[in-house]
Subunit: 370 residues, 2 copies
């Protein structure tokens, strides 16, 4: 992974995955500028997939940034996590087949993580794999789901249960798109930003403690820096472990708890980042009970999560059994053993599958509810 300054406010990283390596470009004004998209198109056939919220805001601008002479189709899906289903991915396949698109077509995902995950999965399976480009428009998708090649959809019995590893040709992050992001979604994105500090970079964590208010005020320079550092950490980890055999599991800090909350509440009622926010605090508390984090460490984590505008409590209706049943479905588990990501120190996460069940149950029992 290398970082270079391309022009005034532009930053570029490279995710190193051999033949499947790809660039991430971050900066203002990318959408309308064909220099960033053109080199990554596989052929003349292009399908842009977006949602009803993003289409009126950015679809025209993206279209302006496409080179001439292409055969461009557009598909606008409904918005929201509840749409992340096989049925909606099927609509993408239907659109590709109706257009008669072949294996040299390119899919462009314009939107948040839901659009990115669905379009990536559609690309992974259309004619056994075609090109796709990520154009994430939410902070969460810019720092998380657009990097790493995880694609897929939810199932009534579990989140992201159906999917594939499939890498984009490029990720184009236009920071201008954050201007229209609702504050609640900005907070959800900050959850993942904080996660990178907690698992891998104590210096970044300290920077975030100082800059969280600035980030919430949408300061462009601070956002660019936060996105760049987040993508760099994620790219580094993904390059080490593309298919989640080892270190990549660390990226799931807060996610085993968080996925349980999302599954229990019905996808889309809690934002993913909100569930991860509460989940990270649960992981920090459990790390404290294991003797890994001090009271002061947990207090720092809690304060940062709170300042980011994220929940510090779990849903009132979720009892211990509800948590345990849903957590057992987690993809990280090996056979019947519960595998968690916990914090050895702030800035240093570990995969842990030897948490005493009583300790976990005690945490789940006493963790505050809303």
């Amino acid at each position: 992974m290398s970082t270079s300054e391309c022009q005034d406010a532009m930053r570029s990283l490279q995710v190193s995955l051999g033949e499947r390596s790809y660039p991430i470009h971050i900066g203002p004004g990318l959408l309308g500028d064909s220099r960033w998209i053109a080199p990554h198109l596989a052929g003349r056939q292009v399908l842009v997939v977006t949602n009803e919220t993003v289409a009126p805001l950015y679809l025209a601008r993206l279209r302006e940034g496409l080179p001439e002479g292409l055969e461009v189709r557009e598909l606008v899906l409904p918005d929201g996590e509840a749409t992340k289903t096989l049925e909606h991915v099927s609509r993408i396949w239907d659109a590709l087949l109706e257009a008669g698109f072949n294996r040299r077509c390119t899919l462009i995902a314009l939107g948040g993580g839901v659009i990115g995950d669905m379009v990536g999965f559609a690309a992974a399976c259309y004619q056994r794999g075609v090109a796709f480009i990520q154009v994430p428009t939410t902070l969460l998708s810019q720092v998380d789901s657009s990097v790493g090649g995880k694609t897929g959809v939810n199932h009534p019995r579990g989140k992201n249960m159906i999917g594939a590893f499939w890498q984009p040709r490029a990720v184009l992050i236009d920071t201008d798109t954050l201007a229209t992001l609702p504050p609640r979604e900005l907070s959800a994105g900050l959850a993942e930003v904080i996660k990178y500090g907690l698992i891998r970079d104590a210096g970044f964590l300290a920077w975030l403690e100082a800059e969280i208010p600035t980030l919430r005020e949408l300061d462009a320079a601070a956002l660019t820096q936060a996105i760049e550092r987040s993508c760099a950490i994620k790219a580094e980890i993904v390059a080490e472990d593309e298919t989640e055999q080892g270190v990549r599991a660390l990226l799931n800090l807060g996610h085993t708890f968080g996925h349980a909350i999302e599954a229990h509440q019905g996808y889309g009622n809690w934002l993913h980042g909100e569930a991860v926010g509460a989940g990270m605090l649960m992981a920090a508390e459990l790390s404290h009970r294991l003797g890994w984090l001090s009271d002061a460490d947990v207090a720092r984590a809690r304060r940062l999560i709170e300042e980011a505008g994220l929940p510090l409590t779990a849903p009132g209706e979720m009892d211990v059994k509800a948590f345990l049943d849903l957590m057992r479905l987690d993809k990280k588990n090996i056979d019947s053993r519960l595998r968690l990501i916990l914090l050895r120190r702030l800035g240093d996460a570990r995969v842990h599958d030897e948490t005493p069940p009583a300790l976990l149950e005690e945490l789940l029992d006493t963790f505050p509810r809303c």
Copy 2:
């Protein structure tokens, strides 16, 4: 790819794909013998997927061949090419999630190509990829779809349009299962066997001309030899080109015409091998019109296809336009160019994308109809 004799009638090949290499074991009595399955299970959780035709014949025998102490579930789907849909793959995912199976589970595909393609695709996408073992029970699937990692389902607008490349952990071919195969399906399997001779091995083609009657009488030794040579040729080609960027396209001899026939007739009305049989003859005739094959070559191909019990004509209702419209959807096409596999000589196939349209239309117009 290497071949070795394991015991009296057992043959084993290795498909060489780096980390994804896997063995193919061929011989009688494999199903009930746990030595062949046990080494390839990823963990304790096993889902066996089969169909209503195969279940009463071989499911109990497969179960006997599984080691003790496993958590085994079974799913029996309807039979036939018409069931090769996303809806039926979803039923496999539902079964896995209902059982609470994690990423260390193993899927076993017991049946023909339809079961193999669906189970492989289900394995490719369940939790972004789990292990699967192919136990093909038809000649077609033994020599074709069980080798090479192509998985997927049909779409109303085209065959195999949705899928993934996903390699099995092992392919176990129990030749005893051919005893219950209907003659029409045996012929369909022979179409693919003949294909290997036509595209790559003139010596094997000559052997087939002598042995076709023996094969149709289900002579075990001849069948084992035909399966082994077919798998060896396919394994060799797949090892050279896992994701069909080049030489692997040769395996599609007769398939562009054949897929058009299948799509036009509705999947399952013509058997895949029957459509490929007629399609190979169309490819041979077109090769003759290009000046590549002699009259005598085409006559040899026609005689072998006929002796295998395969159709020598296309469906009466398919006019030139119907063929062209469906052939244009073929995955081998680059942009709007029609790409065909044709025969430079018997035993030597070529990818050809410069067939003069008039020549193709003339062939489609004059090729006999039933």
